[in-house]
Subunit: 192 residues, 2 copies
DNA sequence: GCCTCCGTAGACAAAGCTGTCTATAAGATC
DNA sequence: GATCTTATAGACAGCTTTGTCTACGGAGGC
């Protein structure tokens, strides 16, 4: 019932858009709040009103990445057909899409986790993301009839993480292809 | 002929030991030069004499990591026997060893690359490391008789990277096991 | 004796960081 | 019209960062 209070293009959205772009490119620690303010064109007080601490902005950034990446994964899986077996391989099309994207710079979660202290809120959020994704893959593996769904899910998410993480070094599109072919082999083996 | 000018336990070694420990735990960007100075117990002028810029220290850190990790990989492969086929799988014992190690915090190269700007010296060094490792794996795959050695090498290094990178999130030892079993499957498939 | 090398100790500058604060203005609502 | 919300503009404090600088001390070679 309550209509959204913030219209599109609002200050909050501009801040988040800018933070998303800058944080992904340079890592949250590599971007000062002042830079986000300058590039988003908002006032300092406005930013600190919406995000009292910088970490709040980082968390919002991670949520946005989570929605985008997890959404792309499910979308790629759906596009691969109805059979869970095909979906397990099809989700790797999302990896290929990410690798091709301009400014591709690896996995935002791994990159952020690498620079956040172990017990902190930010680090916990990154772990949660990976847990949710793996749970989803596990369920898919179970539906596909894998003997050891947890193992297969871990193998496939390992490939995803490897493909994403390697993107921070060189965004070679061959990586996505190799990951996809690995996934095919592993799925076939698990469902033999 | 020229004897080593710097004795063991010299200031240079103390600096490097400290930098290795701190940089790996918090990322180079997360550790100030002052902290390295304080914890290594050297004078500021001494550090800047050996490493004029912080990046020089980071590069030396990466070289040390490269020696350690690449050495562990080759050692694990050698321990797996004479057959290249076994060595391709055996090198994953190095991953298991890394995951078990206390203070394990993922792949130093990926973590460092994530926070270094794309064209920079540091970033280039991380890419070089991965290239050297993959070339070594490719040669091993060729010796094993793989039809597509480059593909198999990419698949296996992808698994290595994934296993290493995931360590920054949770150092679950199951990861290394899943990676090893994936490697076995992929190698068997490639050498069928 | 003297000079060079290696090291310590710490002040210092210039810049960047996060976060707070005051003052002001425009629009919506009562 | 008064008030409340949201925004702008920017000064400011307090801290950390990298990197330079001066001053000093000891050990070994000539």
């Amino acid at each position: 019932m309550p209509a959204p209070r913030t219209p599109a293009g609002s200050a909050r959205e501009r801040i988040l858009d800018t933070a998303f772009r800058l944080f992904y490119a340079h890592g949250p620690r590599g971007v000062g709040v002042d830079t986000v303010i300058a590039e988003s064109g908002v006032a300092k007080a406005t930013l600190y009103k919406h995000f009292p601490r910088k970490d709040d902005l980082v968390l919002a950034y991670l949520d946005r990445v989570d929605q985008a990446w997890f959404g792309a994964l499910r979308s790629a899986a759906r596009d691969a057909g109805h059979a869970p077996r095909d979906q397990l391989v099809g989700m790797f099309d999302a990896l290929a899409g990410a690798c091709r994207r301009d400014g591709y710079h690896g996995c935002a979660f791994i990159n952020t986790a690498a620079e956040s202290s172990a017990g902190g809120e930010v680090h916990v959020r990154t772990v949660e993301h990976k847990t949710v994704v793996r749970a989803w893959v596990t369920e898919l593996a179970r539906q596909a009839g894998a003997a050891e769904p947890e193992l297969l899910a871990r193998q496939l998410t390992l490939l995803l993480d490897g493909g994403l993480a390697a993107g921070v070094l060189d965004g070679d599109p061959l990586i996505a292809d190799a990951a996809r072919r690995s996934a095919r082999t592993l799925v076939d083996e698990a469902l033999r």
